[in-house]
Amino acid sequence: MAVSKLVLAATSGKSCKILLGLRVLAFLATLSAAIVMGLNKETKTFVVGNVGNTPIKATFTAKFQHTPAFVFFVVANAMVSFHNMLMIALQIFGGKTELTGFRLLSVAILDMLNVTLISAAANSAAFMSEVGKNGNKHARWDKICDRFATYCDHGAGALIAAFAGVILMIIISAVSISRLVQPNKCSSSTAASTSVVP
């Protein structure tokens, strides 16, 4: 099949195999983090008071859009997974394009920017969930995790996936930068290498 031939060509060379595997893992991790947090919603009915003998019920919803940090989290994870998807497609289907100097540099710089983006998103969501889980008695903010347990659990799962994505993106960025120093092409063409090792 053509697809298996493409994949085989893209993974010639050891660092190419490692890079492709890491990028697939990072793509899956960030995509799952974005999806889990994006679908995070819980509705619950509480008794807020009593009028005589009848209890008054009110319905409260916990959505991820209520917290700007979580909105940033979803958007940033979607962007990083899109970046990884582009890089995977470039590696598999861009086999004949020559990775000349500027293209290799732009891949490395994009990887570094995405590392900072995803670490910022994961960290801001982590600190906001810490405030939501423990509350803050100095500012008189009540914790919400005792009432919306499922919402908090799903958020925690998304956070774990995002931090796994952070670690994977750091390793990917390190591999990309090391490929700047010793360029070797992950392509199917057997043309002469354009890199000149000093």
């Binding site: 959505k63 209520h66 810490e130 803050n136 009540d142 390190a174 930068i177 700047l180 120093v181 000093p198």
Partner: protein, 163 residues
């Protein structure tokens, strides 16, 4: 490394050192007491975990910048400095992002969670925190430039130097 490259790197790094130091100092000295009827509220940066992380991260960046300022020109550690620059940029952006997320709740509150904003009661504290966050943002931008500059001057991806 050429002299202009080294000078540019030194200037950028010194500016980033000053910005990170300013962020640390602004946040540590922000402390305000306000009385709210019979309740007395003391707002300090250590009440919130995100601000503590911000102070620690920027302190690490300050010390690191100070040490790299004195690295000799022909040392072999410059390649390691590129890696450390990336780590430090990540540290800066994560601490700034967390502090901004929590400060935004402090300024505007969160109506859905029943969290009231606290900036109305402690305005000077809020202003100083804002200043510290701006200084942190300046340090981050300078470090992004430094990162690209380090890669250009140390790794030499275009293989422009003949040696």
């Amino acid at each position: 490394m050429k002299l202009t490259q080294r000078l540019g790197g030194l200037v950028l790094r010194f500016a980033a050192f000053c910005a990170a130091l300013g962020a640390v100092i602004a946040m540590i000295t922000s402390r305000e007491r306000s009385s709210f009827f019979v309740l007395s509220l003391v707002a300090k940066y250590s009440d919130l975990a995100a601000f503590k992380y911000f102070v620690i991260a920027n302190a690490i960046v300050t010390v690191y910048s100070f040490l790299v300022l004195f690295l000799p020109k022909e040392s072999l550690l410059w390649k390691f400095v590129v890696v450390l620059d990336l780590m430090v940029t990540m540290l800066l952006t994560s601490s700034l992002s967390a502090a901004v997320a929590v400060a935004q709740v402090g300024k505007r509150g969160n109506a859905n969670a029943g969290w009231l904003p606290i900036c109305g009661q402690v305005p000077r504290f809020c202003d100083q925190i804002t200043g510290a966050l701006i200084a942190g943002l300046v340090a981050l931008v300078l470090y992004v430039f430094l990162l690209i500059f380090s890669i250009h001057s140390v790794v030499d991806p275009f293989l422009l130097r003949k040696s």
